[in-house]
């Protein structure tokens, strides 16, 4: 029971991180109907910028942890967002209207570019970060097994919830959200009605990248390290989460993230940690076969 509870806490934390990345996939897929294969690597870049930010904070002597986290969060979001924008501008925008697989192939190319760019400039070895937040609340202890809720976990879940709520409001209440939804429905029509499609798509990528940066920072805080390759697996799992929840749906992305977190953590905790990634992939395959619209997705009617 104690073990189960602890695993549950860990799973929710991991799920929050996946969910944040998944939002980026889901928004981009919703608006231009393509898998932004490089999104996982944007997340990785976000974690690196956060890492560099923390080191700078230490050098500048910013010792108060909440301030440091806030500063680094803003820094990472801002500069990772530029990556999101640049990727869209360079690799996807010129391909709008090209053949079906073109953007996907170019996205894979972009993913390789980002990975190798970071590897070349930052080195291939994992980069450890000094522990920024320590400590935990001991929920209770029984049978010699303590159930802990660490401060990092609390922060991760709270930040995720706040951002989630903010984004849902943004999409449902603001003009930008309306324009985004209009582009999702019919890009040509939206542009005829005066929606600046390019700007809307760019902003979608920017927002997705900013959220991925948040996830990157949390990942760094939670695991204490990052490297140039973390985006690959995290990206695939987050994509799985987006599909599981129903691609195009924001709450779906969160739900999917949570489920993938649960599956992964419990599989590792109760069966074998070697095959935890296999479990996540298998879920992806099963979902796509049996419920391709995901849990919260709308059914898609193919027009013939």
């Amino acid at each position: 029971m104690e073990y189960f509870l602890q695993q549950l806490i860990n799973a929710v934390t991991l799920g929050a991180i996946y969910g944040l990345i998944a939002i980026g996939y889901t928004m981009v897929y919703g608006i231009i109907g393509m898998i932004n294969f490089a999104h996982g690597d944007i997340f990785m870049v976000g974690s690196f910028i956060a890492l560099i930010g923390f080191i700078i904070c230490v050098m500048l002597g910013i010792g108060w942890v909440p301030l440091a986290i806030l500063l680094v969060l803003l820094l990472a979001m801002a500069f990772t967002a530029v990556y999101g924008w640049a990727v869209e501008r360079l690799a996807y925008r010129p391909l709008r209207g090209s053949f079906r697989l073109a953007p996907l192939i170019s996205a894979i190319g972009m993913s390789i570019v980002l990975q190798n760019f970071v590897q070349l400039s930052q080195g291939a070895r994992p980069k450890p970060n000094k522990e920024v937040i320590t400590g935990a609340i001991q929920l209770y202890e029984a049978n010699g097994f303590a159930v802990n809720l660490s401060y990092i976990q609390i922060i991760i879940v709270i930040v995720t919830l706040v951002l989630m709520t903010g984004f849902t409001l943004l999409i449902t209440r603001t003009a930008l959200g309306r324009q985004q939804r209009a582009c999702e429905q019919d890009m040509k029509m939206a542009s005829l009605l005066g929606v600046d499609v390019n700007r809307t798509v760019s902003l979608t990528f920017v927002m997705g990248a900013a959220l991925a940066a948040v996830a990157g920072m949390m990942f760094l805080l939670y695991y204490g390290l990052t490297d140039f390759f973390v985006g690959f697996l995290a990206g695939i799992k987050a994509f799985t989460a987006a599909v599981l929840g129903g691609i195009g749906s924001l709450p779906g992305a969160m739900l999917g993230g949570l489920l993938i977190g649960l599956i992964e953590v419990f599989w590792a905790g109760y069966f074998s940690s070697e095959y935890k990634d296999v479990a996540a992939f298998s879920v992806l395959v099963l979902v796509l076969i049996f419920r391709p619209t995901g849990l919260l997705g709308k059914p898609e009617i193919e027009k013939v």
Binding site: M34, I35, F48, I49, L51, I52, G53, I55, I56, F79, V82, A86, L90, A91, P94, L95, S98, F99, R100, L101, A102, P103, L104, I105, S106, I108, G109, M110, I112, V113, L114, Q115, N116, F117, V118, L120, S121, Q122, G123, R125, K127, P128, K130, F232, I236, F239, V243, E274, Y275, D277, V278, F281, S282, L284, V285, L288, I289, P292, E302, V304
Partner: protein, 486 residues
């Protein structure tokens, strides 16, 4: 007036210099934002002190300056002003060669950008005048027809070269290794071309079948004593069965979903290979895999009892190169078989159905074609050839581990197919030579190889989405172009 008449080919856009400068400035600023942290602050692990910075801000500044001028030159050229583009291009080239830039990488990239800008400037200078525009148009048209006519000859020439290569004086061990490497990728490219190029199914896990073939041979040979020739068909069939097994549930999926799922399958296979230690020896890999033999004659200085080594059998001096030459011909023949089968299949109903499926799946269904079965055959075919190639790989390397079968291999094979021009057999050959051969020759490029790879994938999609060889010949003619069979 003069401008209007002189420039029917390409109307002059009078260049708005302040706007162009601003645009270039914004581009440089964006580049600075991209580079400042990731490049400017290189983190270095200093043991107890933890991570510290190794500042490379100068690099970023230099890069931004280059980007500023590059962008300016491009805008100018696009606006019909070749002179600034030419000047800036030459200037960058001179700066790269004359000044001492902070890194070799910057020197190389700046020079390349300089050359590209000069070419771009020349191009727009040519197109400025009507005569120049005509020359450009004529030349590109002629180039098109000449290359198309030369194509069969190019193929024959390359084949002849491939056959005589081992006997040429410069064919040392290094050349043979490279030849084998390129041919392996050509074969893999041809195999994947069936799946991606013909059937239009984006398979990102192709390397899994390569792995199945390699491990099948490695296990059959080391644990059950199978010979290469006995294991080759078995491994191919096994890989094809894997293709069917994996393909069956997922082939109904839409293109990009299929891509992600195949990627997932590729990773699952790799993870299983890593963790099923009893069978695969896990991350340590399988070593001492017997190489291929010719009629039971091994390519070793001394044969085990009851066998004659190859060189004694033919009465030659022992040479390590014999084995390589032999392997080279095996992969050459395997690749040619792959090509022959593919070319043949394209002319059969199944091949036409693959291409039809790529063009329009809904229409296929309306014509009574079973999409799932048709895709499955393409998947299995592609997998089988990957299995053959994998067997060869294991026999050549004599050691395999899951390291060799990572996603990036799938991406490389895919980019060969895409760069070549999806569906084009000749394109695969050219792309494999370009993508595998060139980087191996220019060893210096080594660490930047993958970066260049990724960039190439993006640039090809942006500028030439149909690949090097975009031309498709119909599989059958009603009016044969030059008296071939009707």
């Amino acid at each position: 007036m003069a401008i209007a008449t002189a420039d029917r080919a390409r109307p002059h856009v009078s260049l708005d210099w302040p706007a162009a400068l601003k645009d270039a400035g914004v581009t440089a600023l964006l580049a600075a934002a991209l580079g400042i942290f990731i490049v400017g602050f290189r983190t270095v692990d200093r043991g107890v002190a933890g991570l510290q910075f190794d500042y490379q801000v100068v690099d970023v500044v230099v890069a931004c300056v280059v980007i500023f001028f590059g962008r300016l030159a491009l805008t100018a050229a696009a606006g019909g002003q070749p002179v600034p583009a030419l000047l800036i291009g030459a200037g960058l080239l001179a700066a790269a060669q004359g000044l001492k830039l902070p890194s070799d990488f910057l020197t190389v990239v700046t020079s390349l950008i300089g050359v590209a800008l000069v070419l771009r400037g020349l191009w727009s200078w040519l197109r400025r005048s009507e005569a120049g525009a005509r020359i450009v148009a004529d030349a590109s048209e002629q180039f098109g027809t000449v290359t198309r006519q030369a194509f069969p000859w190019l193929g024959a020439g390359l084949l002849a070269f491939a056959v005589v290569l081992p006997f040429l004086p410069f064919a040392d061990q290094k050349v043979m290794d490279l030849g084998i490497l390129i041919l392996t990728y050509v074969m893999l490219g041809w195999g994947l071309n069936i799946v991606v190029g013909l059937a239009g199914l984006l398979d990102l896990g192709y390397v899994a079948f390569y792995a199945v073939g390699a491990y099948a041979y490695a296990i059959l040979a080391t644990q059950h004593g199978w010979s290469f020739w006995a294991a080759l068909p078995a491994a191919g069939i096994l890989a094809a069965m894997f293709g069917v097994l994996l393909g069956f549930p997922v082939l109904r999926l839409r293109g990009d979903y299929l891509a992600i799922v195949t990627l997932g399958f590729g990773e699952i296979v790799r993870i299983v290979l890593l963790n099923w230690v009893d069978l695969t020896e896990g991350p340590a890999g399988i070593g001492n895999i017997p190489s291929a033999q010719i009629l039971g004659h091994p390519f070793t200085p001394n044969a085990p009892e009851g066998k004659t080594p190859f060189h004694e059998w033919l009465g030659l001096e022992f040479s390590a190169n014999h084995r390589l030459i032999f392997l080279y011909f095996i992969i050459l023949v395997l690749a040619l078989i792959t090509n022959a089968v593919t070319v043949r299949l394209r002319r059969l109903p199944i091949g036409r159905a693959w291409e039809a499926l790529r063009e329009d799946e809904v229409a296929c269904q309306a014509l009574g074609i079973n999409p799932t079965n048709t895709k499955l055959t393409a998947f299995a075919m592609g997998a089988m050839f990957a299995g053959f190639a994998g067997t060869f790989f294991a026999a050549k390397q004599r050691f395999i581990s899951p390291e060799s079968f990572v996603f990036i291999e799938s991406a490389i094979i895919l980019s060969i197919v895409v760069l070549g021009g999806m569906g084009s057999q000749m394109g695969v050959v050219l792309a494999a030579i370009l993508l595998i051969g060139l980087p191996e020759w220019f060893r210096d490029l080594g660490q930047y190889r993958m970066l260049a790879f990724g960039l190439a994938m993006v640039l090809i999609m942006v500028f030439k989405p149909k690949g090097l060889v975009a031309h498709r010949d119909p599989t059958i003619h009603l009016h044969p172009p030059n008296g071939r069979r009707p």
